[in-house]
């Protein structure tokens, strides 16, 4: 699926505004309020349905962002673990704990930094005039 980004964050407002920001750029989004639900959805996808990027928050109940990354690498090393990842966090002391290839987005997130990270992983150039998709809290 082209130009699709998954957002995983337990804060409803942050999730909504991140999706809103991407939808303005014509990027489709799907969001999840926790990493467990996201993992369950992801593992039923075929590789052609994978998103171009997953942006996951660090501090979440049940499974935090780093645990989510490690879970994908441990259980799905040849499939889901290959999806590019970005970790968003308000903490400034965890950069040493994340793999080098995972982009760190420091909260409060700068829009330019966010869009730059996302656009670097898109398959096709973004057309800003694309109509906005509606915000989704959970997958259909």
């Amino acid at each position: 699926m082209k130009n699709l980004v998954f957002i995983i964050d337990d804060d409803d407002d942050v999730r909504e505004v991140m999706c809103f920001a991407l939808e303005f750029e014509g990027i489709k989004t799907l969001s999840f309020s926790d990493a467990v639900k996201a993992t369950e959805y992801l593992r039923h996808l075929t590789p052609s349905q994978y998103p171009q990027l997953i942006v996951v928050d660090f501090m979440m109940p049940e499974m935090n962002g780093i645990e989510f990354i490690e879970h994908l690498r441990t259980h799905y090393p040849k499939t889901l673990a290959r999806i590019p990842l970005a970790l968003s966090t308000a903490r400034d002391d965890i950069h040493k704990k994340i793999p080098a290839e995972v982009k760190l987005l420091a909260k409060p997130i700068d829009l330019g930094d966010f869009l730059g990270t996302v656009k670097g992983h898109l398959e096709t150039p973004v057309n800003p005039s694309l109509s906005l998709s509606s915000y989704q809290d959970s997958p259909p």
Binding site: E16, V17, F20, A21, F24, P108, I109, L111, P128
Partner: protein, 325 residues
């Protein structure tokens, strides 16, 4: 001399210092021997005089009485050192919790700031692209509404921190008036419900009007905290808020069927900066229940929890009607 005496009595030299009775007996013995050099009628006077001198001598720095005084001083010093050690431990713990709190408060403030920053930058970007017309009015209204909500969220965080300071300085303000709790709680629940993913999540049970002399803003604050916790830890299960009168008390309970609280954690959750869930996993200042308890106690009431791990929790606030419970 000391070593001579110890050798004579087969005692180690240092034992002599710790055995004042032995020293006194030796001195009295010598005094008795010396008394025979006096006339018989003078011996008693001499012995009394010698005994007085001997006991006074032991009351000096190396005497029996000063040994006892020294022991008392040593005991007091030990108590002082123990007390100082306990104070240092308490201070270290307080500093740890302060630093932990500052870290958590910083995180909590950055969360609404994230939304505010992105929202403002998105609109700025659209203005610069001269593309505001592509934004649907309902979407724009929703975003502006969210800006307002994020600001309110930060105001609540700051107010919580101010309340902590006021509680510490005994300045928590409670402005009482006669309030119908049925109307107060129903109104609060209906304000909160639209913001939930499942508006029907909260069910309010009441048996009609129930008036209480209380601070409505503070009681809403307590309710807000209990409901926020029920939503956060309730795992999407229905939340039941009940208001009833039991004799001379009013009882407000908030019940969920979520993750529950262990007995051990039930002792901690009403304390400052304490949570039953590790800070790394769940956001929040850890002040809510502490402030809630202070508010309830400022109304001469009580707050308690009934819970089993994995079986939800019921928080119960009891408030006296017209006087102390």
């Amino acid at each position: 001399m000391k070593s001579f005496v110890s050798q004579f009595f087969f005692l180690p030299a240092d034992n002599i210092k710790k055995r004042p009775v032995v020293v006194i007996l030796i001195a009295l013995g010598l005094a008795c021997v010396l008394s025979f050099s006096f006339a018989p009628e003078e011996r008693v006077k001499f012995l009394v005089f010698a005994a007085t001198l001997i006991f006074l001598g032991r009351a000096t720095k190396k005497g029996y009485l000063s040994d006892r005084a020294l022991e008392i001083r040593r005991e007091k010093l030990r108590e002082l050192l123990t007390s100082q050690r306990e104070s240092e431990e308490a201070m270290k713990e307080a500093l740890f919790y302060r630093d932990e709190f500052l870290s958590i408060a910083s995180h909590e403030l950055k969360t609404p700031l994230t939304s505010l920053k992105l929202q403002s930058q998105v609109f700025k970007r659209q203005i610069l692209k001269n593309d505001l017309g592509s934004v649907r009015p309902d979407k724009m209204l929703r975003m502006m509404d969210q800006v307002d909500q994020q600001v309110n969220r930060m105001v609540r965080l700051v107010d919580d921190m101010l309340d902590i300071s006021r509680i510490r300085t005994k300045n928590l303000r409670v402005i009482k008036s006669d309030v119908d709790l049925h109307v107060l709680i129903a109104s609060f629940v209906s304000k909160m419900s639209p913001g939930l993913t499942k508006p029907e999540l909260i069910v309010f049970k009441s048996y009609g009007s129930l008036f209480l002399n209380c601070d409505p803003v503070r009681i809403e604050q307590v309710l807000s905290n209990l409901l926020s916790n029920a939503i956060r830890y309730g795992r999407g299960t229905p939340i039941e808020v009940e208001l009833l009168q039991a004799g001379v008390e009013v009882c407000i309970s908030v019940k969920d069927s979520g993750m529950g609280i262990s007995k051990e954690d039930q002792l901690k959750i009403f304390h400052r900066f304490q949570r039953a869930v590790p800070a790394r996993e769940v956001s929040g200042l850890g002040l809510g229940l502490y402030i809630a308890r202070e508010i309830v106690e400022a109304h001469d009431g009580k707050i308690a929890v009934e819970s089993e791990l994995g079986q939800g929790a019921t928080f119960r606030v009891t408030l006296p009607i017209g006087g102390e419970a």
